[in-house]
Subunit: 346 residues, 2 copies
Amino acid sequence: MSLSSMPDNIIVRLNRVPDPGVLPADIFDLVTEPVPELRSGQILVEILYQAIDAGSRGMLDSAAGYVLTVPPGDRLPASASIGRVFSSLSDQYGEGVLVRLFGGTRQRYQRIDPSRCVGLQVLEPDVGEPLHYLGILGITGFTAWLGITDICRPVPGETVLISVAAGAVGSAAGQFAKALGARVVGIAGGATKCQYVRDQFGFDDCVDYKAADFTERLAQACPQGVNSYFENVGGAVQRAAFALLRDFGRVAMCGQVAQYNGGGEVPGANLMTVVNRQLEVRGFLAHVHYHRLPEFMAQVGQWYREGKLVQPCNVVQGLENLHEAINSLVEGRNIGQQVHQLTASR
Amino acid sequence: MSLSSMPDNIIVRLNRVPDPGVLPADIFDLVTEPVPELRSGQILVEILYQAIDAGSRGMLDSAAGYVLTVPPGDRLPASASIGRVFSSLSDQYGEGVLVRLFGGTRQRYQRIDPSRCVGLQVLEPDVGEPLHYLGILGITGFTAWLGITDICRPVPGETVLISVAAGAVGSAAGQFAKALGARVVGIAGGATKCQYVRDQFGFDDCVDYKAADFTERLAQACPQGVNSYFENVGGAVQRAAFALLRDFGRVAMCGQVAQYNGGGEVPGANLMTVVNRQLEVRGFLAHVHYHRLPEFMAQVGQWYREGKLVQPCNVVQGLENLHEAINSLVEGRNIGQQVHQLTASR
């Protein structure tokens, strides 16, 4: 394809550090630039969908305490992307092929070096729902699987407690724990989400953290206490969950979304419980475990093919609506995997 | 020995739940009761010395969050005791023999069933300093050894940070980490203690948490960051220590003495660090690991015989001065193992 027929690229850049809370429409700039030139072996991917997750908000403000902060003017990393190969200097990935990759930045066209790209996978026409490869079969599912497999380590009959249970990672974590035979209790915001978590994701119970009697209801939902807790929220929910942990309980520390909107740190659990109950509290980041992706795909892919896993997606369309896609997640308006579709139609 | 020649027993009982802070002289009652009658195989031990540790204060008030709370009227458990066999119905422990045992209650004479007693050991006349068997060769050392061996897991060249470094557990933990080849930095209260920790316990550095520039000084003392942290204090020191932990850092959660004086919970570290640095934070209690005492004695006994270990003791005399023995520890007036001698002389 000749340079003259190349479309312009549109790149999202952070305009400024946002105030705490909801992102305004002008928080991002859309900047038009030439598409990058390919070198041998590389491919140019037209990005169609990108994952939105709690980190998408957390990375905008160092006050969020997120692992990564994007300075104003910079491009924004995504945790995973799906796109179509637009032009190719690779023998392996021809034009028109649909691919999923981990990472990617928020822009219309992205140059990829397949040999240096993690999670790059061709999505065959028969893979079913491609968006599942952003979600439960992608980095989201891998993150949930790591926390459940390595840290929560449920055995049949144990109680696993999952925060942000209606979210992409939480709903995946709970479904994996169910597949492993555990009793699974979720925590979510509002009666509608709680019902969804029970009825669609198949959790044994789900408790509304917005209810006035949340702490009591949570204790009732876990009459045997909690053997392991998948933590993604922090704050008051964290304190209530820690209080229910049994001796030798495990806590998979995946995130603390309660502080990702830039409002600063919220008080967490007093750690005396960690001593008294001999708890194991472990934080983890998915990227250092990428060598275990085949193990993940073998186990979760099997459950997926058996029809054990449910993965709804909530799609927000339009490059200019990225702020809205993030707000929807931070405000808890979505269920399942939040997805940003870069164009208005496929 | 006939019953008529039996002395009276004197038992310490908690008078009431203390107010936060220093214990008043009337917080304990000394109650005279007959000594218990022995059954076959049992021994009556005249208690000479008992360990005083942070839990001795923490157990007096449920607001301390300590693992154990003693209700008013009850007898007070000790973590370890040394005494002389006063009378015996045991073939194995004859009258006059000096023994160390884990546990025991704070009273003049205690009936022991050797078959059900943990850590019972005859202290031969040649064991050197018997009080070391309350401290670095006893439950104190075992606790420190568990945290260092199982959780901190230092390798040569790593930096291990130790809170309450002038205390019995902290000073033992630091000496064990040194013996394993780590660089060891302590945290203690005041210049005198810090100097003692450096000069006598052989830590590479020690930082005064009471200094106005504590946080900066701590960072300077750990230029490569902290690979593992032995936690015994909580509060502001905990937050400063967590901030220095490197990726994959380990935290041995042994206690939080900052809240043991009944003032209630103090804010701890925000746990986002646990996610971002992929930390392992684990609580432990010594008693569930008693089956590993032989392993402990093999390794620490070896270091002890090689002269690598230092264990000062601070002895407070008199049954009526138990409150003072505890106050001395809680106020940080002691260095090393705090010991309560039940009579005024051996």
